[in-house]
Amino acid sequence: MDPAETRHSLPSKGPGSLRFLLDRGAHSLFLACALVVVALIAGILVFLSMRGLAAFLPLASNTGRVLSLREVFLSADWAPSSDRFGILSFVAGSLSVTGLALLVAAPSGILTAVFVTLLAPGWMKALMRQVMDLLVGIPSVVYGIFGLTFLLPLVSSKWLHDSPASGFLVAASILTVMIVPTIVSLSMDAFEALPKTLDEGALALGSTRWQSIWRVLIPAARPRLMTAVVLGMGRAIGEAMAVQMVIGNNPAWLSLVREATDRAPLMRFLFTPAATLTTELVQELPNTPAGSPWNNVLFAMGLLLYLMTMGIILATRRLGQRGSA
């Protein structure tokens, strides 16, 4: 296979000598390191399943009653103290905040990538790379504190007559900035991987720069651009601390949005204190006794997040195959 395989086995001191033994040992050692990763993937699945699925199984370690899948995954009624464990509003919260963030992050991220790869002069390219590197390097708690001490008061005093601004809008705007670097850097890879002849051909046929970008380059890069957006989505769904600090942490947000009548529906949706899968975990996990249905359901939410991650990675694989086919 590898030409190096045959070449390095040419004996200079005989295959039994120490360095050849070491060579073989090293192979196993490196393989073991790689297998650690595989073991971790499987281990996370096993341990989260053990705790997450415990809620639905009649196990001896359970301290409460056995829950049905339906009352957990198809109900938005979360009242652990009165034995009701519907997590649908957290799923809806996660999807809402992610969707809102993508609404801005996907187009602006892709267009920034277009700009950096095709239009920007050299100094601007370097500057934008630096900016994206810094944005991706800022810790999520620092994003959170910025939202908490700067964005929330600003929005509240400017738009809301000083009523609290926590909720999806501020959470999503912070998430947008957090996931844009991911989308930009992967989209830049997508544009850089396109053959130069595509762009040159379009320009030679008399299209403007923008026409070439919009009608030729973006469609040609579409599968990889979608991969970029999907991975950005993965980051947004999994983000915990920054969102937890600004979203308001109200498990009953769905009913509040439905019932409140003092504001327009969109305003209510954007500014009602809400909760997501990750924020509920951060908020409630430390206070729940192990083995209780409450605790088990929280682990089930973690399992759900993990399965979503796996789904997202597999989806990008599919997109990638379509791109290369």
Binding site: R7, V37, I41, F47, R51, V131, L134, P139, V142, I313
Partner: protein, 296 residues
């Protein structure tokens, strides 16, 4: 005297298309400049809020739980200690796995499978890693909220990044260098240790610095594994003591709310973290610059 075919109207963009082109160029510039403005406002606001708090006492005093005027000394220590420990665990594993992927896994199914696993681990939200660490290290092994539980779980965050960086750096080594080494009769291991790793060391180091930055800023994992308390001794190197880091401290004091000066402490902590990360970023720049210079 151009030929008539070049005058055909469709060879030149229509006026409307040219206007759209101008307009969109403007929009693209505006979006890009917008992100620069966002970054400047962001870093500016954090540093401006935190600057008045940053003084010698802030870095050298123990934190308070109920009174104003506490410092961040043990948190700063824990941050550095935990990042160091987690790197000590994840570097050998990550580099080993990276070597396997680049040099042993071939190009086929094995490589694709391992890559899929590494991407999955890299994409796993840190809160999920936190849950895993909490079940395995804190509860099953009975380590409670401790430095060792934090370091082990934090290593899970680092491993996929280091693996990827190592693999990519090794793949960047020119083929002739490798072949020359084999041609001189070196074994694969000798080639890896004496040719490939030294050649790609700067690239790997860049990745390690980036990983350190990420681990430094990580909070979700450590809240559930290293805890939100610090040891009363200083410096406390014991692996069993609780290990609240700067990032966790920042989160905890803003959500807990018993400190009268939580706002100031949080602002100062955030500013200190930004300064550390700016330094790390600068060192990555310098390393990168070094690589370019050498390969030119």
């Amino acid at each position: 005297m151009s030929s008539p075919t070049l005058r055909r109207p469709e060879m030149r963009p229509r006026a409307s298309a040219r206007i759209v082109d101008r307009l969109m160029r403007g929009v693209l510039w505006a979006i890009a400049l917008g992100f620069i403005v966002v970054l400047v406002i962001f870093v500016g606001a954090i540093l401006r809020q935190g600057w008045p708090v940053l003084n010698w006492g802030f870095f050298t005093k123990m934190p308070e739980t109920l009174d104003a005027g506490g410092g961040i000394k043990p948190e700063l220590f824990n941050s550095i200690y935990l990042v160091g420990l987690s790197l000590a665990i994840s570097l050998p594993t990550g580099i080993g796995a990276g070597i396997y992927l680049a040099e042993y896994a071939g190009q086929g199914r094995v490589l694709r499978f391992f890559r899929l696993c590494i991407e999955t681990l890299a994409g796993t939200p840190s809160i999920v890693l936190a849950l895993f660490g909490m079940i395995v290290f804190v509860q099953t092994l009975g380590w409670s909220f401790s430095i060792r539980a934090g370091a082990m779980t934090l290593a899970l965050l680092n491993i996929p990044i280091i693996t990827r960086v190592t693999e990519m750096s090794l793949r960047g080594v020119p083929q002739d260098l490798k072949e020359a080494s084999y041609g001189l009769g070196a074994t694969k291991l000798q080639t890896i240790l004496k040719v490939l790793l030294p050649y790609s060391a700067t690239g790997i180091l860049t990745g390690v610095v980036l990983t350190a930055g990420r681990a430094f800023g990580e909070s979700a994992i450590l809240v559930f594994t290293a805890g939100t308390n610090v040891s009363s001794h200083f410096p406390d190197f014991r692996l069993t003591s609780p290990g609240e880091t700067l990032a966790v401290h920042l989160w905890y004091i803003t959500s807990d709310g018993t400190l009268p000066d939580a706002r100031e402490i949080a602002a100062g902590t955030a500013a200190a973290m930004i300064l550390v990360l700016l330094c790390l970023n600068l060192s990555v720049r310098l390393l990168d610059h070094g690589i370019r210079k050498r390969t030119r």
